[in-house]
């Protein structure tokens, strides 16, 4: 098992290097260079030339490439032009926020998806099954950012006109914490405020993937409960609840684990839009802002980190799968 994990880790290294190379090639293909934003009246050409020399842009391509790889490998991602800080410092603030949001969404996705899938499989072709299938199709076809806007419209705005609607079910529409009064709250107050801010973004981000997971869970469960060992379990008189939740669930969950790797890119794509809608200070928001400020080094660094997160996610999914299913050989 250790050898398998080590081998998968080693296999991910060329992938990450390839991603870095791809970003480098993209940057080289793009018209203009980072000094373009300094070319304007009042800036003499010598200054621009000096900048090029300082940034190593006059070096031959392979030298630039080598320096680019070396600096990323040593954790130096360059300097953000819009934040006037090293990129690593900017991202150190932002990455945890994205991880919180996508982490909560992931939990939602799998908890809701698996629960709904089980219910549907157990009650196959019932009214409930059909209704849930249709609801899943509807939700699955929604753009996440539109769902986010609709959630804001209903649960932050329209409910405020209903006099009996409880305050704690009226959700804030932007940011991670209340801008006023957050600091004066106690520990539980702070936690509650953060959770309150998380509700709408994580639902908007997670619910469409949850619908997809429910679909897979339903078919996976249906496949499992037709097997002989389930019939055996029922024949020996186990209650249906135990048969489904203990015997069937374990095997039905196996293919669902691979979905984790599959849906991570979708989740992170969605995170870009949802963070933008909710003004969530995460990586997605950062890359969108960086683009409007033409802060190319930051754009490159964030997209690289997004790709690395997907690679790591896939790695975790593979290892989990191998660890849980004894039928998989890892040699």
């Amino acid at each position: 098992m250790t050898a398998y994990v080590a081998r998968r880790l080693l296999g991910a290294i060329p992938l990450v290097l390839g991603i870095l190379t791809l970003i480098f090639i993209l940057m080289q293909m793009a018209p203009g260079d980072p000094t373009a934003m300094y070319i304007r009246p009042g800036v003499p050409p010598e200054v621009v030339q000096q900048l090029k020399t300082n940034w190593g842009l006059d070096q031959p391509l392979h030298v630039q490439y080598w320096r680019w790889m070396k600096s990323f490998a040593s954790g130096d991602m360059g300097y953000s032009l819009s934040h006037h800080r090293p990129i690593t410092a900017v991202l150190a603030d932002r990455i945890p926020n994205t991880l919180i949001l996508s982490g909560v969404s992931l939990v939602l996705i799998f908890a809701i998806g698996i629960a709904v899938g089980i219910v549907q499989a157990v009650r196959q072709y019932s009214l409930l099954d059909n209704a849930l299938t249709f609801a899943a199709l509807f939700i699955y076809s929604m753009p996440s950012f539109w769902l986010a806007l609709m959630l804001i419209l209903v649960f932050a705005y329209q409910v405020s006109f209903i006099s009996w609607w409880p305050d704690w079910l009226t959700f804030p529409v932007s940011g991670m914490t209340d801008s006023v009064g957050y600091e004066s709250l106690g520990f539980w107050g702070k936690l509650g405020d953060r959770v309150h801010h998380l509700v709408l973004p994580s639902i908007a981000l997670g619910v469409s993937s949850a619908a997809a997971v429910a679909r897979y869970m339903r078919s996976s469960m249906l496949e499992v409960i037709r097997q002989d060992y389930i019939r055996t379990a029922r024949a020996k008189g186990l209650p249906e609840r135990t048969v489904i939740l203990k015997h069937a669930l374990k095997n039905a969950l196996l293919p669902i684990i691979t979905l984790f790797g599959l849906y991570l890119p979708f989740l992170l794509s969605g995170a870009v839009l949802v963070e933008y809608v909710f003004a969530w200070p995460g990586m997605g928001r950062t890359i969108v802002d960086a683009i409007s400020h033409r802060d190319y080094p930051l754009v490159m660094a964030v997209s690289f980190l997004f790709a690395v997160m997907v690679v790591i996610g896939n790695l975790i999914a593979d290892v989990l799968y191998a660890a849980i299913d004894p039928r998989i050989r890892y040699d």
């Binding site: 060329p14 992938l15 390839g18 991603i19 791809l22 970003i23 993209l26 940057m27 293909m29 793009a30 018209p31 199709l137 509807f138 699955y140 076809s141 929604m142 753009p143 996440s144 950012f145 539109w146 806007l149 609709m150 804001i152 419209l153 705005y157 991570l264 890119p265 979708f266 989740l267 992170l268 794509s269 870009v272 839009l273 933008y276 890359i287 969108v288 960086a290 683009i291 409007s292 033409r294 190319y296 754009v299 490159m300 964030v302 997209s303 997004f306 790709a307 997907v310 690679v311 896939n314």
Partner: protein
């Protein structure tokens, strides 16, 4: 089998003209198809300079017109082929079986009907609404009107009819989707077939590249590229097509890996056929099933992604109406005029539902593991 079935090179050439094989087969149904096809070709030929300008001008309405004409031509051609094939088919071909399976699936048929209605509404937009999608009248009098009989979806902050904008937006969004899907499916199928057929180092190299592209969340790769290059609608379309092919390539490669061990490919080898001929004439036709499914579901995805890009201001630019642009513009006035954003989003949801229903139906109909 009918005795009127034409054979030989002449019939193959005839099959290239919409309607002609049917006329040769003695069926009157060919004439309207022929007329329709000729009309489209004439329009294309008359405006050939504008067809060329599409690629350089980057005007979205040029793209829309081109897609409409070309897909009209393709539809006429496809109907001809399907009818001619039905003539010759005794109901046992893969497509005939798939169609019978598809028809049994009521949800999928509903999706197909819905899709047909959407496409028709897109084509007939100027006849369905008298408003101009960009016309700004007396703003103070007409803006932010709630849905009414005159404006079924209300008006936006410039007093423009939202229904009209959604309809015109469907032209833009669907055209972009069609072009991007065509690019990505063509590229993905070719790369997947080549990788699967040759195997070895070619396979490894191509698939590692695919792995790399798949590692980027799609939207992130798209906005990175769009940020680096000068924004133009042509660029957005091409980049959408270029970033979505890797998943198709993976599917096709997996299919080809099993196909290439089959006897009929061995027979093709034994006949001394070259690799290009085997790939394009013997392998690719046999992976069309999964490819069509991927294309249908992919179109839904592209529509969602395009909407997201336009929403971020990195795709279609206002004042052109695309669904994402309408949602973005409605967002600013969401509290006073929520109908703008709501209805534009509903248009996306309905279209993507239709595509997903058809895609799922096709998958069930075409997957031999599920049938019987």
């Amino acid at each position: 089998m009918t005795d009127a079935k034409p054979s030989g090179r002449g019939s193959r050439l005839a099959a290239l003209v919409p309607g002609l094989p049917l006329i040769l087969g003695g069926r009157a149904g060919g004439y309207p198809l022929l007329a329709f096809g000729l009309m489209l070709v004439l329009v294309l030929a008359a405006g050939f300079d504008r067809v060329l300008a599409t690629f350089s001008a980057g005007r979205i309405d040029y793209w829309v017109a081109l897609v409409t004409l070309v897909s009209g031509l393709a539809a006429a051609w496809g109907i001809t082929l399907a009818l001619a094939r039905r003539e010759a088919d005794d109901g046992t071909s893969q497509w005939a079986i798939a169609w019978r399976e598809f028809k049994k699936n009521r949800l999928a048929v509903a999706g197909l009907v819905l899709l047909a209605i959407i496409c028709l509404a897109t084509l007939l937009t100027p006849f369905l609404t008298q408003h101009d999608p960009g016309a700004i009248g007396d703003i103070m009098a007409t803006r932010h009107q709630p849905p009414s009989l005159a404006h079924p979806m209300g008006t936006d902050r410039y007093g423009r009819d939202v229904l009209t904008r959604v309809l015109y937006g469907s032209r833009v969004s669907l055209s972009i989707g069609f072009i991007a899907v065509t690019i990505s499916i063509t590229l993905g199928t070719t790369v997947g077939a080549v990788a699967g057929y040759f195997g070895g180092i070619i396979d490894s190299a191509l698939m590692r590249f695919v792995d790399m592209l798949i590692s980027f969340p799609r939207l992130v790769l798209l906005i990175t590229v769009i940020a680096l290059f000068d924004m133009s609608i042509t660029l957005v379309i091409v980049i959408l097509g270029l970033t979505l092919w890797p998943s198709t390539a993976r599917i096709v490669r997996a299919e080809v890996l099993s196909l290439r061990e089959r006897e009929f490919i061995e027979a093709a080898h034994a006949l001394g056929l070259g690799a290009p001929r085997i790939i394009f004439r013997h392998i690719i036709p046999n992976v069309m099933g999964p490819v069509i499914v991927a294309a249908t579901l992919g179109l839904g995805n592209i529509i969602l992604i395009e909407a997201g890009l336009s929403f971020l201001g990195l795709g279609v630019q206002p004042p052109t109406a695309s669904w994402g642009v309408i949602i973005q513009q409605g967002r600013d006035v969401m509290l006073s005029a929520p109908w703008v954003t709501t209805f534009a989003g509903m248009a996306i949801v309905v279209t993507v539902i239709a595509l997903n229903l058809v895609g799922d139906g096709l998958r069930d109909a075409l997957d031999p593991r599920l049938s019987r």
